[in-house]
Structures are given as structure tokens and as C-alpha cells.
Symmetry: C2
């Protein structure tokens, strides 16, 4: 099966609630993850919500990383979408699970762009 992209959908539960509301920390964590997997960062946008919660996007030449957090539930949804063989998205999972202190995480990999040959 040959797909153009690899999309990892992470469910991070049991996270450090303070970290999930710390926009600066989360920006650093996603940028560190992008760097670690060998991605080329093109830009980033992070938003703090009231009373709590953060949304962050890091656009990479190889596609994107996105995080949405619900500090009140200790939960974060993370997407790591990459294309090409030069990046290793699985490395980002370990980094983000560690930085967010998730005690219970799950991961689904969705191939994207399976073209008829």
C-alpha cells in the first residue's frame, strides 16, 4: 500500500493539566517535536482560550502538526501529518507523550492519499 502521507492521530489522556494551558510550553514542545523528526518548519500559530485551553499549529514542509488541549480533562488531541520518507513522525509521539506527561495515550495511523495505480 503506497500512500502519499502518513497521519498519526494521538489521544493524550492523563496529561499534566498546567502544561496543557501553557501556550509557551506547548509551542516549544511542538517545535521540538518537529525538529526531532527532521521536519522543516514553515510557520506556527498558537492561540490561548479562556478560561482555558490552547490550539496550536506548526506547518512543516512535510505537512503539519496540530494540538488542541482541554486542561480541565487533562486531555490533548494531537495530529502529526507527514509526507515523504525524510521524516520519522513516530519520534514525535514519544517526545510529546513525555513533555505533556500523558499517563494514557493511544495512537491511530491513517494513510492519506492512497492512489489508484
Amino acid at each position: 500500500m503506497n500512500a502519499l502521507g502518513k497521519h498519526l492521530l494521538l489521544e493524550l489522556k492523563g496529561c499534566n493539566k498546567e502544561v496543557l494551558n501553557d501556550i509557551g510550553f506547548l509551542k516549544g514542545a511542538l517545535l521540538a517535536a518537529a525538529d526531532e523528526i527532521g521536519a522543516t518548519v514553515l510557520g506556527e500559530s498558537f492561540y490561548q482560550f479562556a478560561p482555558q485551553g490552547v490550539t496550536g499549529v506548526v506547518v512543516i514542509a512535510e505537512s503539519h502538526l496540530v494540538i488542541h488541549t482541554w486542561p480541565e480533562y487533562g486531555y490533548a488531541a494531537v495530529d502529526i501529518f507527514t509526507c515523504g520518507n525524510s521524516v520519522q513522525p513516530e519520534k514525535a509521539v514519544e517526545i510529546l507523550v513525555g513533555k505533556l506527561g500523558s499517563k494514557n495515550h493511544s495512537e491511530i495511523e491513517m494513510p492519506r492519499g492512497i492512489l489508484d495505480t
Copy 2:
């Protein structure tokens, strides 16, 4: 099943190849889709690749819309991630399928943030 977020993963095949490389058109299409589903747009970032292809993100208060295009294959990957009950993400599917002229599309809905109760 009660989930915090609803994530639609769209595979748009058989699209109009010129449109898939038109960054201005794609930005307009995603913003129109965000507007149509009742989302609050917080920001957007679009990037043109060489020799072809576009990546675009629209961050909304309710989460995000993302597109990655491969004009050479007439293919676009689209994600529509929303939370809350005030938006109707399914409406965006119809709009984007129409605007991109996709002759063959598929859609997977992934619930995000199913918490233990």
C-alpha cells in the same frame, strides 16, 4: 459515546488540478467552508510549494481546517476538526467537494477525546 471533538478526514480525488495549485482559490474555499459551518476564524496560513502543491490551515475557535494538495495527482487531503455543538462540519464537505471539483471522495469520521466517565 460522548466525544469532545469530531474529526472528519476527507480524501478528495479526481479534483480540478489547476484549482489544487491555486493558493488564493484554496484560501477562499477553506474560509468559505469555515464560514458556512458557522465557525469563528482566528487565523489562517497558506503556503505554495514548488513545483506545485499547497498547504493551508484555517484555525477556528472550534479547532481547525487543513488542506494539503498534490495537483499532479488531482488529490487533496482535507481535515475538518470541530468541537462543540454550534458548528456543523458536514456542510464543509459538500462545499469543498464542489469547489475542488472532486469526482471521487471519501470521508472518515473520527471522534476525538472520548473520556472515561
